[in-house]
């Protein structure tokens, strides 16, 4: 299985309570996808991409997508193999 860890640029918001919420991601091809809602946020492992971090369940274009925030301060998504 190909590793499918794709690091992405993320625009995020910090509230004054210290809560971090991703707002949009920029995919490899430069297209920016708005995150309309964050349904869940928890620590989780990504068995597909390989890694551990805070996992945000984001609604992007009506679909649930996982966005991971690793403790190296980088964001990644689980892309399709070969994507």
């Amino acid at each position: 299985m190909e590793s499918c860890k794709v690091y992405v640029d993320v625009t995020a918001e910090f509230t004054k309570e210290g809560v971090l919420t991703p707002k949009s991601i920029r995919w490899e091809d430069g297209i920016i996808y708005e995150i309309t809602r964050v349904k869940d946020c928890r620590r989780a492992a990504s068995m597909k991409a390989g890694g551990v971090g805070m996992r945000y369940t984001c609604v992007i274009e009506g679909q649930d997508k996982y966005l991971f925030y690793e403790d190296n301060n980088m964001w990644f998504v689980e892309g399709r193999a070969g994507a």
């Binding site: 590793s3 499918c4 492992a45 390989g50 551990v52 403790d71």
Partner: protein, 414 residues
């Protein structure tokens, strides 16, 4: 009242973590160890696929390759494993404040007091096991019992990803049929002695006369007899001050030979910065500073010195390393590589007598300063803040500190 003790053991710890970070190796045998490119070193951990083929911990890499030619080697990344160990302790910490680490990958938990909120031992074990899987992507084996010895025995019973109970009404059937060598502290030599008396299982040991065991094995005989009968009442030690690893060191081969004290001082400071930062990151302090020196004809030596107060202050470690160097090198030859190591590690719980003539305030200030430097570097990168000393020689100050660690679990009685 009976206690509820859990022993949780991360299955093939290093190998599992590497599998998580290398999804492309799924279904392929993997071993963590040595330096595959330098073609030396030993296997630290093998995954279950490799173990099935006969790869064992401690094997030389070339031996492992012989029994399992398709084996994938990965160099150890100890800082990553320590991070996982910390995350595991965070999870355990939500069930009890009484936890005692045993090495990097094992831990005892006393969950007696948590049962009213979190449920009984098995329920807690199941919850921990599920959380480890979903949050860390690794599996654990957990033993549930009324004492530490049987809890450990339980966690060894079913691997990987098993939960085994050893309750007071069960251990006579479950534990007693196991070979006596499964018991903690029955090593090869004790096992041989016991075998001579026909003691093969833990049950045999339990039913043997205590006096006979003591006459053969000394004090340990009595202890093992008590273990086998479930009389282990040792507490889960929260005040445990052992660090799960033995030492943290960095070494480097310099881009040009070192020719005077100034050169060495600069490199020792770089190495000490890295060692101290890694100690701080893991919440450790060292009580011994060690240096290693190799000259340009490859003659090498190491020297170490015990320091008065456990420390992770960069300045103290660097100054001590330099002092040891000055005392031990006569500059007959230029130097090719040096290393700094912090050993005899203790963790944040460590307490000690403070020195009357040393300013506690000053040390606290230095710790805060180091913490601030760590913060800056985390945010803006390593080279964003540096010592003035580094400007003495911009080539030497760019050297790359190479990590290396020594791991070993501390003893049960320690």
């Amino acid at each position: 009242m009976g206690r509820t003790i859990l022993h949780s053991d991360i299955n093939c710890c290093y190998a599992s973590i590497e599998h998580l970070y290398h999804p492309e190796l799924a279904g392929k045998p993997l071993a963590v160890g040595g330096d595959p490119e330098a073609r030396h070193g030993i296997v630290l951990t093998a995954d279950y696929l490799a173990k099935k083929k006969g790869v064992k911990t401690g094997m030389a890499l070339w031996q492992a390759k012989q029994v399992c030619p398709e084996l994938n080697f990965i160099s150890p990344r100890m800082d990553l494993y320590l991070r996982f160990s910390r995350m595991a302790h965070e999870i355990y910490g939500e069930y009890t404040d009484l936890q005692e680490p045993y090495g990097i990958d094992e831990s005892w938990l006393d969950v007696t007091a948590s049962s009213t909120i979190k449920g009984d031992g098995e329920k807690i074990a199941l919850e921990i096991s599920n959380r480890m899987k979903s949050e860390l992507g690794i599996t654990v084996s957990i033993g549930v019992s009324f004492n530490k010895i049987f809890a450990k025995l339980g966690s060894d019973f079913k691997k990987p990803d098993g939960i085994t109970t050893m309750h007071e009404d069960e251990f006579r059937t479950k534990a007693w049929q196991l070979p006596v060598s499964d018991l903690l502290y029955v090593g090869r030599s004790a096992n041989q002695k016991l075998a001579r008396f026909g003691i093969k299982t833990i049950g045999d040991l339990a039913k043997t006369d205590e006096g006979l065991l003591e006459s053969q094995l000394g004090k340990m005989g009595g202890i093992l007899w008590a273990f086998a009968n479930g009389f282990d009442d040792s507490p889960v030690k929260v005040e445990n001050t052992h660090a799960p690893i033995k030492s943290i060191g960095n070494s480097t081969t310099t881009p040009r030979d070192l020719e005077n004290d100034e050169d060495v001082k600069l490199v020792l400071y770089i190495l000490a910065e890295s060692v101290a930062a890694r100690l701080r990151e893991n919440g450790f302090k060292c009580r011994v500073v060690e240096i290693s020196v190799r000259d340009n004809e490859l003659m090498s030596f190491t020297r170490q010195h015990k320091i008065n107060n456990a420390t992770n202050i960069t300045g103290e470690i660097a100054a001590e390393a330099y002092r040891i160097f000055k005392e031990n090198y006569d500059w007959r030859k230029p130097i090719r590589s040096v290393g700094v190591r912090g050993a005899d590690l203790v963790n944040d719980n460590y307490w000690e007598q403070i020195d009357l003539f040393q300013s506690v305030e000053l040390r606290e200030k230095q710790m805060k300063m180091d913490g601030a430097v760590d913060d800056i570097r985390r945010q803006f990168g390593f080279y964003s803040i540096q010592r003035g000393l580094m400007y003495r020689d911009r080539i030497l100050s760019k050297v790359n500190a190479k990590e290396d660690h020594t791991v070993h679990p501390h003893g049960y009685f320690g």
